[in-house]
């Protein structure tokens, strides 16, 4: 629950800062220190990193550094906003995490992927195919994802498309917290205008002339939005010659590095 409340506490911490000159402290020199003295319960945004649960490494060092969990939030809804969810953009961004999560005896559930997930590429990315479940759910997509999350039997759930009401998103977020797994929801970028209970929302685009993603942090609970990152996928097949030279079967190490 402490995670849920943190954004409000962040606001509470910022407002008195502006008013502080009119309230000098009894002992301290700076206004902020005096405030902290008077209100020992006052929460400072910087401290949040240490109280959040450790994240799932994303496989991209720059992204891990940016996110307050040090990776993907380990239990919660993650929105990945793309221009056209039908293009399947963003699976490569999640791939290293899927590879890490596949070590546990839990399923990786893909609900309504836009195309056939291509097994040889997933396996090369380190995904344990035996853990993978692809469900075609249509209208029952939200239900299927919730079942997967709530059951605790999934290490991660990925969903594509669909229209999401605020209530449905909240249920998904709660299910993810309950089941202790991240839920990656790939949505149309138009949804960025609407609020969401997801602790993390990223906007995704492509990198020109290179394999990788342009990532914009739209929202992160306990951290600042607005960061822009260019994440290159190492060894992805635009530089095909280098891909060929790598030993087949174990290219994951180069991807997740």
């Amino acid at each position: 629950m402490s995670i849920l409340q943190s954004p409000q506490r962040l606001e509470a911490g910022e407002i008195p800062q502006g008013q502080s000159p009119s309230a000098p402290g009894p002992r301290s020199s700076t206004p902020i220190e005096s405030l902290l003295d008077r209100h020992p319960g006052l929460w400072r945004g910087r401290a949040v990193g240490s109280t959040l649960p450790a994240g799932v490494p994303t496989g991209f060092a720059a992204l891990d550094r940016e996110l307050p969990w040090g990776g993907w939030p380990p239990a919660g809804l993650i929105e990945l906003l793309v221009d056209d969810p039908g293009e399947g953009l963003g699976l490569g961004l999640v791939l290293p995490a899927l590879a890490n999560l596949g070590a546990a005896a839990r399923w990786l559930l893909l609900v309504d992927p836009p195309w056939h997930p291509f097994a040889p590429a997933l396996a090369a990315g380190g995904v344990v195919l035996e853990r993978l479940v692809v469900a075609r759910a249509g209208e029952a997509a939200a239900w299927a994802a919730e079942q997967g999350l709530r059951s605790g039997a999934c290490a991660a759930v990925l969903l594509w498309g669909g229209r999401w009401s605020a209530a449905a998103l909240r249920r998904l977020q709660l299910a993810a917290e309950t089941g202790g797994a991240p839920a990656f929801l790939f949505r149309d970028s138009a949804a960025a205008r609407h609020p969401s209970p997801a602790p993390l929302r990223l906007g995704l685009g492509t990198l020109p002339g290179e394999a990788g993603y342009r990532v914009k942090v739209i929202k992160q609970r306990g951290g600042r939005p607005g960061a822009l990152l260019n994440l290159a996928v190492p060894g992805d097949p635009v530089g095909r010659a280098s891909a060929r030279q790598r030993p087949l079967g174990r290219p994951h190490s180069s991807r997740s590095g």
């Binding site: 221009d83 953009l89 005896a105 559930l109 195309w115 469900a135």
Partner: protein, 490 residues
């Protein structure tokens, strides 16, 4: 030997209805010396309807009374299904038609924590199934039957537990002769009463030889078996290799959700049978029979053999939730055609023991798959496996989740494959998709598959779309040399 008798006084009624708790007055009639009421439910009894009453009189007493003819066949079926269910308590079960079962429980008492606890479990189970039952434990089968028939019910906590022969003798002694079940006619009873013989103990005090002459040898034999003086072998019930159960509904049910309750009864019966055989089922075939004799069939599946009724009930709830009934349902049937013995060492056998350990270091929990499949359909929940083939569309296949394949992981492949290659326009000699596509430097030729008639000859390129998406496209080297989109790098 310790015998537990299960007497089912309301069986004729229960096989026809959802149970005695029904609000509508319901009665079963038999044609013996005119049509008479055999049994009625409490709602009918409140109106004054009693067993033995003529049908006409019963109708006069209770205007809304629904009278159904007795169904001996259905009673027998129900009794056999209950016998299968009670195999969960002991392997030795014997039918005592028309309305009773005998369980030899000497070997089960310790397992279930003593007679009271065992009887409590049996009584609760029967109540759960919707049967009214009277139970009695005695050293002889006939003794248990006679005592069970006397009207004690486990609900009132008055179930007779008779430990040995002398106790049985005293328990039976106080019973009136008429209720013993010796098959005495009214004239004979009057004769005995005139002799001062009213209770069982009066009869037992008499010399056996004289009794034999007065009552006939068969009745004395019966008495001796009752008291355990002569052996009383019983044929053991052999469960059918498969389970087939059905419930006729008292009225037509239009809401699929309302079927859960009767279906639960079938699941509980099945669970008893499976437990008794240390087995589970992987597939349940249901059939909903409508008023016009059309049927709605559907199946529930589990990845591993399962017996627990709650698990199946959960799956059934999902399935019924998305079932559109085209007509009201009159009857529910359940068939299990394959029974698999359980691996007794596996944690699923006793799911309440160490539930956390069940998933650790093993395959993931299959229950989730079962639940998803119950609603989405079995074909909508699949896994992926590799195949060793260079043709992209043949380098993988759908499979059962958790199944492994043998193939080649390829880092230079896209994460998404189109179900079938999508033809691309060609403009000025270049492939076109909303704009000209930039082809990468590299070209990969896949020319293989001549041996099975699915030959491909293609040059693959990684192209960049107008919006920056990276696409996997190829030029067909056969025929008109067209361009196709085959995958997306995501």
């Amino acid at each position: 030997m310790r015998w537990l008798a299960i007497h089912l006084p309301a069986l004729p009624l229960e096989v026809l209805g959802l149970g005695h708790a029904d609000q509508t007055p319901l009665a079963v009639s038999i044609s013996r010396r005119g049509e008479r009421i055999l049994r009625c439910n409490p709602a009918a009894a409140d109106c004054g309807v009693r067993p033995g009453l003529g049908v006409g009189a019963a109708r006069a007493l209770c205007a809304g009374l629904r009278i159904l003819p007795r169904r001996p066949g259905a009673e027998r079926e129900a009794l056999e299904r209950l016998a299968a269910w009670s195999l969960g308590f002991t392997p030795q079960v014997s039918l005592a038609p028309p309305r009773a079962l005998l369980l030899e429980v000497a070997g089960s008492l310790a397992l279930f924590g003593g007679p009271e606890s065992l009887i409590g479990r049996v009584g609760e189970g029967l109540a759960d199934l919707g049967y009214q039952a009277r139970l009695a434990l005695a050293p002889t089968p006939l003794g248990a039957l006679v005592l069970a028939r006397q009207g004690w019910s486990p609900v009132e906590g008055l179930c007779p537990l008779v430990p040995d022969g002398p106790a049985l003798r005293s328990a039976l002694g106080g019973l009136p002769l008429a209720g013993l079940g010796l098959g005495l006619g009214r004239r004979e009873l009057e004769d005995l009463t005139r002799l001062g013989l009213r209770r069982v103990q009066d009869l037992l005090r008499l010399p056996r030889q004289g009794l034999r002459e007065r009552l006939g040898p068969q009745r004395v034999d019966w008495l001796e078996r009752l008291l355990g003086e002569s052996p009383d072998p019983r044929p053991w019930y052999a469960p059918p290799p498969l389970y087939r159960g059905r419930i006729e509904l008292p009225g037509e049910i239009e809401l699929a959700e309302s079927l859960l309750f009767p279906c639960r009864r079938l699941l509980l019966e099945l669970a008893g049978l499976l437990m008794g055989r240390r087995a589970g089922a992987r597939r349940l075939d249901w059939r909903l029979v409508h008023g016009d004799h059309t049927e709605t069939p559907f199946s529930l599946g589990a990845v591993r053999p399962q017996w627990a009724p709650d698990l199946w009930l959960g799956l059934l709830r999902e399935r019924l939730g998305r079932l559109a009934l085209e007509a009201p349902v009159r009857e529910v049937r359940l068939a299990v055609t394959e029974i698999d013995s359980l691996d007794l060492g596996s944690p699923e056998v006793s799911p309440d023991l160490f539930p956390r350990l069940a998933g650790a270091g093993r395959a993931p929990d299959p229950a989730l798959l079962d639940r998803l499949r119950a609603r989405l359909g079995a074909e909508s929940v699949r896994g992926l496996a590799l195949i060793a083939d260079h043709r992209p569309e043949r380098a993988w296949r759908w499979c059962e989740p958790g199944e492994s394949g043998a193939g080649i992981p390829r880092a230079d492949r896209p994460l998404w494959l189109l179900p079938r290659p999508q033809p691309l326009e060609e403009r000025q000699g270049r492939p076109w998709l909303g704009g000209p596509l930039d082809l990468g430097q590299e070209r990969e030729r896949i020319d293989t598959g001549w041996w099975d008639g699915q030959e491909v000859a293609r040059d693959y390129f990684v192209a960049t779309g107008t919006r920056g998406a990276r696409l996997w496209i190829y030029r067909d080297l056969k025929g008109p040399r067209g361009w196709y989109l085959h995958g997306l790098f995501g």
